[in-house]
């Protein structure tokens, strides 16, 4: 992977009337990267994507594509293509014509267009339907054509606006793998927008978590999941337990904190320096029960159980505080802790994280 910056977003802000969609956002996307903008609806991720495509202009700030300022450049002059959420295939054109559209506008010669269209349809396994129109295609087939159409002109950056949200679950999983493979094979920078944290964790090289018009955190999927920098990220990406704690002492990225169930523990606390009220985040799968309890251990009573097949989710009462734990059912007899039982509960200090309130 080269480290050239395909896209630089510098202090970009945007208002829609009184509503501030983006508040001075800055980040960069490396060439050949699978970059995901993740966030709830209204977080500004789609606005950002539309700015990269050229459909919206920022109020302030600048956007650089391979080092070139593009804010004043209209969409049809940017070497960027989009896979739209609704696919936006031209209903009056055949699949071939749809894929050829961008190439024709770029002024490619006929023979070259024909070869490229054939090659792209082949790549997305749609050659057999080349002369059909898009109206009778299934969601997955439309998705493939939209991809072929956007990739055919060999863009510098491919933008994907929640392209999987309209597909059913099984197909979505298959398309994730296909998208990832396509990105590796073509080496084109992918910018993917989604509200589905699982998609983001699965596919991305790096993720930008957006919330309230700001970048909350940028990092690899592991960094985002294991080392969330604030409550918003910890809450939006994955499940977690939030405990109200009091920071007693901080030293070298660690903090000694008092938990609500009266135990003083030392846990990772990067960026926390102030003493006083804070939040401790512990993911349910990091909490071990029964004979697996290790690290910081205490006792809890099982108040609720949800058997999910591969996992069982437990709700625990620990001295008046509610904790959720999930446990993999490694064998048929895995799910043996009965409702109402009082069992040892534990987690390794390194898997928890202190966050600002």
């Amino acid at each position: 992977m080269t480290h050239a910056k395909a896209i630089e977003v510098q202090s970009v802000s945007k208002h829609f009337g009184a509503y501030q969609a983006l508040k001075s956002v800055s980040f960069h996307i490396a060439s050949n990267e699978f970059f995901t903008m993740l966030g709830p609806s209204g977080c500004g991720k789609t606005t950002l994507l539309r700015m990269l495509a050229g459909f919206e202009n920022p109020d302030t700030g600048s956007i650089l594509l391979n080092g070139q300022e593009v804010v004043s450049i209209p969409p049809h002059k940017r070497r960027v293509n989009t896979v739209f959420q609704s696919y936006a295939l031209f209903p009056h054109m055949t699949l071939e014509q749809n894929v050829a559209y961008g190439l024709e506008n770029l002024g490619w010669e006929k023979g070259r267009i024909k070869n490229r269209v054939g090659e792209m349809l082949e790549r997305v396994h749609m050659s057999a339907m080349a002369t059909r129109k898009p109206t009778k295609l299934s969601g997955g087939q439309r998705q493939r054509i939209a991809l072929a159409r956007a990739l055919a002109p060999e863009p510098e950056v491919l933008l994907l606006d929640e392209p999987l949200s309209a597909l059913d679950l099984k197909l979505r999983q298959a398309m994730r793998d296909e998208l990832r493979t396509l990105q590796r094979d073509t080496g084109i920078t992918f910018v993917f927008v989604t509200h589905d944290q699982e998609e983001a964790l699965d596919m991305s090289d790096r993720i930008a978590v957006l919330g309230g018009g700001e970048v909350q955190q940028i990092g690899t999927p592991t960094e985002i999941y294991e080392e969330p920098v604030n409550r918003f990220v910890a809450d939006f990406v994955g499940e977690t337990n939030f405990l109200d704690i009091e920071v007693l002492e901080t030293l070298g990225g660690q903090a000694t904190v008092r938990t609500p169930f009266g135990l003083d523990i030392t846990v990772p606390a990067a960026g926390i320096t102030a003493k006083g009220r804070a939040t401790l985040s512990v993911r349910p799968e990091k909490i071990n029960l029964g004979n697996q309890a290790q690290g910081i251990t205490f006792e809890g009573r099982v108040t609720n159980k949800n058997y999910m097949g591969g996992y069982t989710h437990y709700t625990l009462d620990v001295a008046g505080t509610e904790l959720r734990a999930s446990r993999r059912n490694a064998s048929r007899e895995g799910d043996t802790i009965p409702l109402g039982a009082t069992v040892p509960v534990g987690f390794v200090a390194g898997s928890a994280r202190v966050l600002a309130v």
Partner: protein
């Protein structure tokens, strides 16, 4: 055998009900059938019959078969009964199609941007604007045409205004094809805006964005995405404007001064002052035949477009 035995009672039961339904639909639809027959189809047959009747000496006609009405469109009968080709009525037919065609084109040119603008407005303003487009329908057409006479005529609004800017006094824009065309475009405009608006409104905005995204500039996007997808609305609007414009009477009579005739005013003249009903009817039948050719052609084109895979 078991099969027919099982089906027999069902068939017995169904038969009277089907007959009842048939009777109901016959008697129920009878009033509208009668209305259609008497008010629409019968008059056409009468006009067709009159067009091949013989002109009476003092107006009216007699039921003697005669093609003089039709031959009069192309030929003039000399003193000695010989037929002499005369282009005067062909010219009227030609100018009628020319003016109707021009009306349609001008309406299209104005209606597309207007409809596009309305479709981009927020919902409540959209409703108000569509209502405003239909507003002229609530005022009698003859009054609206008179209003144009006040605007364009001698000492009218426009000449007076131009006078203020140093143009010579006493100008008039009335009694020519331009005035006729102005009034025709004005009366027909809502009929064009509404269907065009309906089809532009249905157009998915992301398709336009997709076209821009795929390196299509505005012109390419208009030609290759917007026009093909709104074509049904444009064709509907064109038919709604073109067909009535062919039969326009009021505009050429009032605005054109009645000297420059169109087929509509010619027909009216033959049934009125000209007292030549067979000739008027023959022109009416010719006009109808031409309109039907035009409509059939449009329908065939549409069918062919649909049939393409």
């Amino acid at each position: 055998m078991t099969d027919s035995a099982l089906n027999a009672p069902a068939r017995l039961e169904r038969a009277p009900r089907a007959r009842l339904w048939h009777d109901l639909s016959f008697w129920g639809l009878l009033p509208s059938r009668l209305l259609m027959g008497f008010a629409l189809i019968l008059p056409i047959f009468i006009i067709a019959a009159v067009s091949v009747a013989t002109r009476g000496a003092y107006g009216g006609f007699t039921w003697d078969f005669n093609l003089a009405g039709y031959s009069q469109i192309l030929f003039n009968e000399g003193w000695t009964g010989e037929l002499e080709f005369t282009p005067q009525y062909l010219l009227i037919i030609g100018r009628t199609f020319l003016l109707a065609g021009a009306t349609t084109l001008i309406c299209l040119l104005f209606a597309v941007p207007v409809a596009y603008f309305i479709s981009r407005q927020p919902a409540n303003r959209k409703a108000i604007l569509v209502y405003l487009v239909t507003l002229p329908f609530w005022v009698s057409m003859i009054l609206r045409v008179y209003a144009w006479m006040i605007i364009l005529g001698k000492d009218g609004t426009l000449p007076s205004l131009l006078e203020q800017f140093g143009f010579p006094a006493g100008m008039s824009f009335m009694f020519n094809d331009g005035a006729t065309l102005t009034a025709m475009v004005y009366t027909a405009m809502p009929l064009m805006v509404l269907p065009v608006f309906a089809s532009i409104e249905k157009l998915d905005g992301t398709l336009i964005e997709a076209s821009h995204d795929l390196y299509g500039d505005r012109w390419v996007t208009l030609r290759r995405v917007i026009l093909p997808l709104t074509a049904p609305g444009l064709v509907a609007g064109a038919i709604l404007v073109f067909v009535p414009a062919l039969g326009a009477v009021l505009e050429p009579t009032l605005m054109g001064g009645g000297k420059q005739m169109m087929m509509g005013s010619l027909i009216q003249l033959q049934f009125g002052g000209g007292r030549n009903w067979p000739f008027g009817a023959a022109i009416a039948m010719t006009l109808m035949a031409l309109v039907m050719l035009f409509l059939i052609d449009t329908a065939l084109r549409a069918a062919r477009r649909e049939a393409r895979p």
